[in-house]
Amino acid sequence: MSLLLDALRQAGALLIGGDGEVWAVLWLSLRVSGTATLVALGLGIPAGVALALGRFWGRNLIVSAVNTGMGLPPVVVGLFVSLALWRSGPLGFMEILYTPAAIIVAQAVIASPIVTGITLAAVQNVPAKFRLQLLALGASRPQMIRIVLREARLPMLAAVMAGFGGIISEIGASMMVGGNIKGHTRTLTTAMVLETSKGNFDVALALAIVLLVLVFLVNWALTSVQQRGSAGR
């Protein structure tokens, strides 16, 4: 018990004291996971819309694959992205293994099915007759999709939260493709594993608190937007 209290006290000191390394790690995590979330939104929203509104051969197969992908284990993604980015691998020429870019790739792979799946559900949840009404008012197909996404903005925000929340706290892929290189690819989670294994519980706890606060802040911000959209004007 005293170990925990000690660790907590020291963690507080580290945070308040403004330990440079903690903040560097935080900043990298934010940048990497934020970028990966944006990439996942860019891929997942169009894919989700296409799957929700399209009727094409193989659609059910893809939907099943997306649903499976929503629970993709990060280590598995880490393994495949490592293989792809390996010097002799198909994308080896890019030479980005063990760089933040590699982590972005891996995390985007993890988050894309999540965004796709939630978008798919959100768009399907908007009744078909609502879409028909928009077309009947003279909407082109892109205009119709824009309004449908706007109507589904609450579940769409859930997609952003779920995507970001999933990858900021992910460890397997970051470790495998990033390599936990100090000052280069060390993220909140990989640093936490390292510090815990070294017995530096205070640092690990400080990082854990930072991670929790970060995830909370992001969700809080998005929830506020969501609630402003639903209540009052």
Partner: protein, 366 residues
């Protein structure tokens, strides 16, 4: 429709068939919507009304057939352009989660109207529909009637060349519905907005329709001026659907000057119709055209037909009572609650049922 000049056709369906899988939902040989008219399509649930309206609104391509909009055939590339000259209102208001104003301006946005031009265009319509004071309210806080008014404003601001209404009053409560029908009718007639409305409610068809089409099992049975259609249905099926309740077999025993005398169930009935003695016919009578009296002398003297019978059944329906009189055949009459009380009508009472020769209608019978 003024003078002799031919009203222009806004929409024309020729040989249109809509089908789902192998099932034919609607099959229309020819149907035309004329400029400035209100065409009401009535039919029972599942008769294909909504499919027909979606096809007319270019929201669903027909399996076969041609659609002409403003005299021009609609080709696949021109669908959006043509559709942007139309507007639809459905049973559910289907509003977006925004203010009433933004909802009403939605279609203008699709047409890329400048933001500054929106208010002058939208505000007057909100006022005309009695929702001007709700402009800044969020749509989800509206009552059913207010929401449907918003949906109507959203369609009318587009000044559509063709307005399509799919059971727009079906989800509203009675008083709201009645008020809105009157107000909408006034707007449509004042602005001469070409309109097609589908409904299962013949009351709505009677109050709004210039012309009425009856759709049953996917086929148009009759299209006519509203008054004529309700007076002279072409078949027993249509007659029943448009509210004829007494349908009885008879035979023409005498005919002169457009007045035919029938023998129907042993009663002599005079009908204003061209017929020849010996014709086998079917007599059609609407219950609201029949009045009841206790004695012959007090029965409406302007009515040619006075049939004596016995009441077999009374069924209260709102402010009215539906009375079945056995006078050789079951005759249906719709009378006020008040007259049931005044005349002390009860099962077993003897009454005189009176109706005009012009109120009755005859159908040929094989």
């Amino acid at each position: 429709m003024t003078g002799n000049d031919q009203a222009r056709s806004v929409l024309e369906l020729v040989g249109v068939r809509v089908q789902y899988g192998g099932t034919v939902a609607v099959e229309v040989d020819r149907l035309e919507v004329l400029e400035g008219e209100i065409l009401v399509v009535i039919g029972p649930n599942g008769s294909g009304k909504s499919s027909l309206l979606r096809t007319m609104g270019l929201l669903e391509p027909p399996a076969t057939g041609a659609i002409r909009f403003k005299g021009q055939p609609v080709d696949p590339r021109g669908v959006l352009t043509a559709r942007r000259q139309m507007a639809s209102v459905f049973q559910d208001p289907l509003l977006i989660d925004a203010t009433v104003f933004k909802n009403a301006a939605l279609g203008l946005g699709f047409r890329r109207m400048r933001r500054a031009d929106l208010a002058p265009r939208v505000r007057p319509w909100l006022d005309r529909l009695g929702i001007g004071h709700l402009a800044e309210r969020r749509a989800r806080t509206l009552s059913g009637g207010e929401a449907q008014r918003t949906a109507l404003a959203r369609a009318l601001v587009l000044r559509p060349a063709l307005l399509l209404l799919d059971e727009p009053f079906a989800a509203l409560d009675q008083p709201t519905r009645e008020t809105l029908i009157v107000e909408l009718g006034r707007i449509l007639r004042h602005d001469r907005i070409t309109t097609v409305m589908v409904t299962h409610d013949r009351g709505e068809a009677m109050s709004l329709g210039d012309r009425v089409a009856v759709l049953m099992a996917g086929r148009i049975q009759q299209v006519d001026q509203a008054a004529r259609l309700f007076r002279s249905p072409v078949s027993e099926e249509v007659a029943r659907f448009v509210g004829v309740e007494t349908i009885v077999d008879g035979e023409v025993i005498a005919a002169e000057d457009g007045l035919a005398t029938l023998n129907a169930g042993g009663q002599r009935v005079e009908v204003a119709a061209a017929a020849r003695p010996g014709d086998r016919v079917r007599l059609c009578l609407r219950p609201e055209d029949v009045s009841l009296a206790i004695r012959e002398e007090v029965a409406a003297s302007s009515s040619r037909n006075h049939l004596t019978g016995t009441i077999t059944d009374l069924l209260a329906q709102g402010a009215h009572v539906r009375v079945t009189v056995d006078c050789g055949f079951p005759l249906m009459a719709l009378v006020t609650r008040r007259s049931v009380e005044d005349l002390r009508l009860a099962p077993g009472s003897s009454v005189v049922a009176a109706f005009k020769a012009t109120a009755a209608h005859v159908l040929p019978r094989a």
